[in-house]
Each structure stands twice: as C-alpha cells, then as structure tokens.
C-alpha cells in the first residue's frame, strides 16, 4: 500500500497497465516531455519511449479519431483531452464514431480505448476548462462514463476501464487531484465499472453524488448529522454510464428519500435521469420529492463567481433537511 494523491494514483494505473500490456499507449497534447499539464503522465515517456507516449498536434478530434483507428487495429490507446470543455471539438469522434463502431459493425470491430479528461470547478480555471459534461455522454449509447472521487477508486477504475472492450470516458475531478491522499494498493487491481459505492450507510435519506461532489455530500451529511442527528446514506455513483440503479433503488427503499448532488447544470442532467428511474422503480417508497442540488442552468461562470455557482455543503445540507422534513 502506498499513500497517494488521485493524480499519483492515475499515473500509477497507467504505468502498471503499460508495463503489463504492450498494446497500451498514451496520446494527447503535452503529455510526453511535459508530463501533462497536471503531471498525470510524468515520467511515462522516459519509461516507455516516444512510440507509446505520444505528444500529438493540437487537435482534439485528431486525437480521438486517431485513437479510434489505433484501437480498431489492435492497440489499447489512452487519449487525453486536456480539459473536458475541449471535448466539444471531438463530439463526432466520441459519440458518433468510437461509441457506435461496435454497433455499426455488428460486433466485428470494437474500440477499446480510454479517454481521460480533467473536469470540474473550484480551481479558478479560465472558461471552458471546468464544465461537467457527463450527461452528454450518458446520452451516447456505446460509451461508458466513469467519474472517480478518491485515489483508490481512480486507480482501480482506470485499470478496469483499460481492460474493458468498450470505449470509456474517464473523467477526473481536477479539484480532487491533490486535495487529499489515500491508501492505494501497489500493482494491479480493478474497481468494477458500473458498480456504485455506498460510502456511508444511513437511514433517513439517500444522498447520491459522484466525482467532485462526493466530498461535498459527505461534508453535508456530517453537518446535518451533527446539527439534527439526521442519518444519511451516501452513495458514490462512480460510473455514470451504465448507472448502478439497483444500489440507488435499494437505498431509497430503505430511506424513502433521495437527494442528488452534481456539479453539471441541472436541465437534462444525470440527476434528472436518476430521479426518473427512482420514480419508475421506487415511487411507493418515496416519502418526499427527489431533490437535486446542482450547478445552475447557465454556462460555467468566471473564476470570481464560481464559488457561488457550485453546489456546496451548505446548499446540499439545506436540501437534505428540506427533504427529510417534507
């Protein structure tokens, strides 16, 4: 076991995968000599050479489209999109090409690739760097979407994503890259995709979060527990597509109440999907409307205003209390 930050765990996962499998290669902007703008790929070029750690031209669609071709022809590429806001440039290659190749070819071809990208607010980035865009890809059949919230999960989920035969979008919360350390096993292990994690058990309300809002949900849960003795069950969804609805439904059947916390804008978000599924599957268990604590339906604001925009423990705590006392 080692004590690592999330960024170190991610780097460790790539190193472990590259050592184990010569088909794994990494490509993206500034990921080679520079080691990535967050240093996620630091040292990999020195260890594995320029053929496996490829500094690409500055062209996001080019990175993803080339990775699709690499994956089709037997490689296991990890493509980095420097910041998630830049993924708009690649929407065709991600959603129409990578995600649909298996379907279009009736299983003849698969695209086993991982797209890594930092996202999420609270770190004062310029515009289009912090946006949470996971809902766009929940709406794209054929691709899986993974969003870790701690170093252990980050490594295990990334190794599982690399072993997966489908394209996986692996979204890394920037704010958590170096926010805390955690125990991370050496070598290879996997945290399965599509399985949520019940981080904290509780009886009064289910709080569902993923990526950067997991610590927010935990902080809110602690505060409502301290203030009013409210017992929250906190679920870290880990994987946005496919959603582990069973874990959510089991919990809501126990607590009768649910609050969803995500950074992405509210309209058409993953929270809306989860709410709909709770209604479909656990309506008679509900004792209060499902609440959502989210970013507002505006473009991500400038750095001086982002703290007002982001869901925090205070807003989340209020939503939990409103729901519990409905």
């Amino acid at each position: 076991m080692a004590n690592m930050t999330m960024i170190q765990a991610i780097q460790d996962a790539m190193r472990v995968a590259m050592e184990a499998d010569s088909r794994v290669l990494v490509l993206g902007e500034d990921i080679g000599k520079n080691g990535g703008v967050f240093r996620a790929t630091e040292g990999l070029m020195a260890a594995f050479g320029e053929n496996r750690v490829i500094d690409t031209p500055l062209a996001e669609s080019g990175i993803i489209g080339t990775a699709v071709g690499l994956a089709l022809n037997g490689m296991r590429p990890i493509a980095e999109i420097q910041f998630l806001g830049f993924i708009y440039e690649t929407m065709d290659q991600v959603s129409a090409q990578a995600a649909r190749m298996r379907f279009r070819s009736q299983g003849r071809f698969s695209v086993p690739m991982v797209i890594r990208s930092p996202f999420g607010g609270g770190v004062r980035t310029p515009e289009l760097h912090s946006d949470s865009l996971e809902a766009l890809f929940l709406h794209s059949p054929g691709i899986k979407v993974v969003m870790p919230s701690n170093p252990y999960d980050a490594k295990g989920l990334l190794l599982a994503a690399l072993a997966d035969d489908d394209p996986v979008l692996f979204l890394e919360p920037m704010k958590l890259y170096r926010a805390f350390r955690g125990e991370v096993p050496e070598g290879s292990y996997q945290v399965p995709l599509g399985k949520a994690n019940v981080v904290q058990e509780g009886n009064d309300v289910t709080v569902i979060a993923w990526g950067p809002t997991v610590p927010v949900a935990l902080e809110a849960a602690k505060s409502v527990s301290d203030q009013q003795g409210v017992s929250c069950e906190v679920i870290d969804l880990r994987t946005i597509s496919p959603i582990d609805i069973d874990t959510i439904v089991n919990s809501v059947q126990k607590t009768g109440k649910a609050v969803i916390v995500h950074e992405a804008v509210r309209a058409g978000g993953v929270g809306a999907e989860i709410t709909a599924q709770i209604n479909e599957r656990a309506f008679l268990s509900l004792e209060a409307p499902v609440a959502r604590v989210t970013g507002y339906d505006t473009p991500y604001p400038v750095p001086t205003l982002e703290d007002y925009w982001l869901p925090d423990a205070k807003r989340t705590g209020e939503a939990i209390l409103r729901t519990v006392h409905f």
Partner: protein, 360 residues
C-alpha cells in the same frame, strides 16, 4: 514585407487520353489483368444501374450511385492488399466489391439490414461512413497501429471533394504527416458535394496541392483513367509500405448520377457539363477503346460479359433479398461488449412485448 502566394503548378497525371490513345508510360500489367480491370468496371457500372432501379422499385432504401467513378475506384483498389485497412465513405461500393465485398453484402447495406455493416472477416474494411470525413482519422490510427506493430499493412481512406472542407481531414493529414503514418488519402473529386460545386467548396484550384501544406506528397491524377489511377496508387502504396509516409491523391472524376436517390441534380447542375463528362470522359468508354485498339477486347466479348455480369447481379439481388431478416431484439446486442444492466432490462421488456405481439 514579403508575402507568399503560390501557384503550385499541379499538373494532372494521365496515361490514357480521352480518346483511348496512350500518352504516358503504361504500368506493367498483363493483358489478363487489363481485361479484369475492364470487366470489374463494367460489372460495377451495371450493378450501380441495377441498384438505382431497385431503389425506384422500393426494394432497397436510399442509395448513393457511383457511376462515372469506376476507374478511380477499381484502379486504386487494385494496388492494395487484402490485409490493408480501408476506411471509406458510402460511395466506394465499386472499389469495395472489387476488393472482395460480396455484391449481396453491398445491397444489404442499402436495404437497411444490420448485417450490411458487418464486413467480411477476411477484410480489414470498416463499415462505410455516413458522417462526411468521419472515417479519415480512423485510417491514420489504423495505419499508425500497423507501423507500431511492425506490420506492412497500410491504411487507405476514401473521401470526396466536399469532405476536404471538413476539419477532420486537416487534422488527419497533419497527424499522418507528423507521424509518417503509412496512410493514403484518396480523394475522389467528383466535382459536386450534393449541390455545391467544387469551385464553391474551396478556393484552391486543386485538392492535390493541399499536400504541400502538410509536408506530404500529392498527386493529381485523371480519375477516369484507370491505368493512371492504378500507377498513382501503386506509387503511394509502395511509399507507405517502405516507411516513407502518407500521400494525398486527388482523383479527378465526375459523379454522373445524383448524390443519392433522394436528390435531383437537375436543380443545380447544367446539362452541358454532364454531357461533356458522359460523352467525352466516361472511364469505361475510354478504357474499352484502349483494349480494342490493343486487340484484346471486342464487341462479342463485351456482349458476353454484359450478359454474364447481369446474371451475377441477379444472383446477388436474389441472395440479398433472401437473406434472413434481422431479429429485432438484435439492436440491443452490439452496443457494448456485454449487455449492461439497464440495457438487459430494456431488452427483456422489449422481447416480452414482441412475444405478446405488441412489438413496434
């Protein structure tokens, strides 16, 4: 201030003139091979006409005709190996059929059968691409993978003049040149992107000259001259296989028909231009005159082959039409490698409705 504009003086490579006379160095091809080229061009021309009629009869769906582009396709595919990677658009059916895609398989695609996208496993051919230029980058990645793994396969992508305007073509050419990937960019300039002529598509007089900006070799070839196309493609394929990197080939050709069966070219295209290409530059007529002048083809052979070709096409149509219908629930099966939980549930629900006669 020093500014630059360049007249790249790109000339068109040609072996056979429009009247079938020889103007350049003939490639080393046996008489049998030459006859084979012609037979494939004629077969695919007849296939194209038949497919168009099948659409009009409501027996297949929307179809994108390629008549006029047979030389560009047969000539270029002839320089490739079965193991090479091919990323094409929807208008390369002549080339793909020559390459080994059974005609009935090509029809399945137009019939809207899911098996249309499942290319034969002995060929490294990606499902035909609908998104203009979406496939071009895949060839760069596939070619690069072959290079990294030390294989001699190359990757070829086919696209049109309209696709040249897409950002992905720029990104792909740039990537391929930087990595010296074994890739051929084969652009069939058929002069029209639905209703927009190439002169309104781009401000450059040629597409081949774009190679200069990326640091790769470019060739402008008469796309209706099957021998020139073959020679150009062979040159590019040899370069790619020997590690010299990508080549851009602009094959200057013409779409004689509509963009698709849903399109009416008389709304935008002038009759004189069409006649000029139909009467003076048809790739089949030109090559047939060459073969006849060479004394290896005559009217009797022509008639016999037309008859034989029609029978082959009939058989393919019959085969396609008797292909087993797709199981409706199969659309759940190839979304992910393994059916995910939510999808498994939807499939179960769907199958249950189907069994109760409530499907659709």
């Amino acid at each position: 201030m020093k500014t630059y504009t360049a007249d790249f003086g790109v000339s068109m490579y040609q072996i056979l003139a429009e009247d079938g006379s020889v103007r350049g160095d003939l490639p080393e091809l046996s008489d049998d091979k030459l006859i084979e080229f012609y037979k494939w061009m004629l077969l695919t021309r007849l296939y194209d006409q038949r497919a168009f009629n099948l659409q009009r009869q409501g027996r297949i769906g929307t179809y994108a005709p390629f008549s006029g582009q047979e030389a560009a396709q047969i000539g270029s595919f002839a320089a490739l190996k079965n193991t090479d990677w091919l990323a094409t658009s929807y208008r390369e059916m002549a080339g793909l059929i020559y390459h080994g895609l059974p005609m009935e398989h090509a029809l399945l695609y137009s019939m809207g059968h899911p098996d249309g996208g499942k290319m034969p496993t002995n060929l490294n051919v990606l499902p035909v691409q609908i998104i203009i230029a979406g496939q071009v980058l895949h060839a760069v990645g596939a070619g690069l993978a072959s290079k990294l793994r030390g294989e001699s396969n190359i990757a070829v992508t086919y696209y049109g003049d309209g696709a040249s305007s897409q950002g992905d073509v720029h990104e792909a050419m740039n990537f391929a040149a930087v990595y010296k990937a074994p890739v051929i960019f084969f652009c069939q300039n058929n002069h029209w992107a639905i209703s927009v002529p190439v002169s309104k598509q781009m401000a450059t007089p040629t597409i081949a000259q774009k190679a200069v900006a990326y640091g790769m070799e470019g060739i402008r070839v008469d796309g209706n001259d099957v021998l020139a196309v073959y020679s150009a493609m062979k040159y590019a394929a040899d370069r790619a296989r020997s590690g010299e990197g990508p080549t851009l080939i602009e094959a200057v050709t013409y779409r004689l028909g509509s963009h698709t069966t849903a399109d009416d070219p008389t709304r935008y295209r002038n009759e004189t231009e069409l006649k000029e290409w139909q009467e003076k530059r048809d790739p089949l007529i030109r090559f047939r005159i060459f073969l006849e002048n060479k004394g290896i083809w005559n009217e009797q052979q022509e008639n016999e082959w037309r008859e034989e070709a029609k029978q082959k096409i009939d058989a393919a149509v019959e085969k396609a039409e008797s292909h087993p219908k797709a199981e409706p629930s199969s659309f759940f099966d190839h979304v992910y490698a393994d059916l995910t939980g939510p999808l498994a549930e939807q499939k179960q629900d769907f199958v249950q409705r189907l069994n109760q006669g409530e499907g659709r």
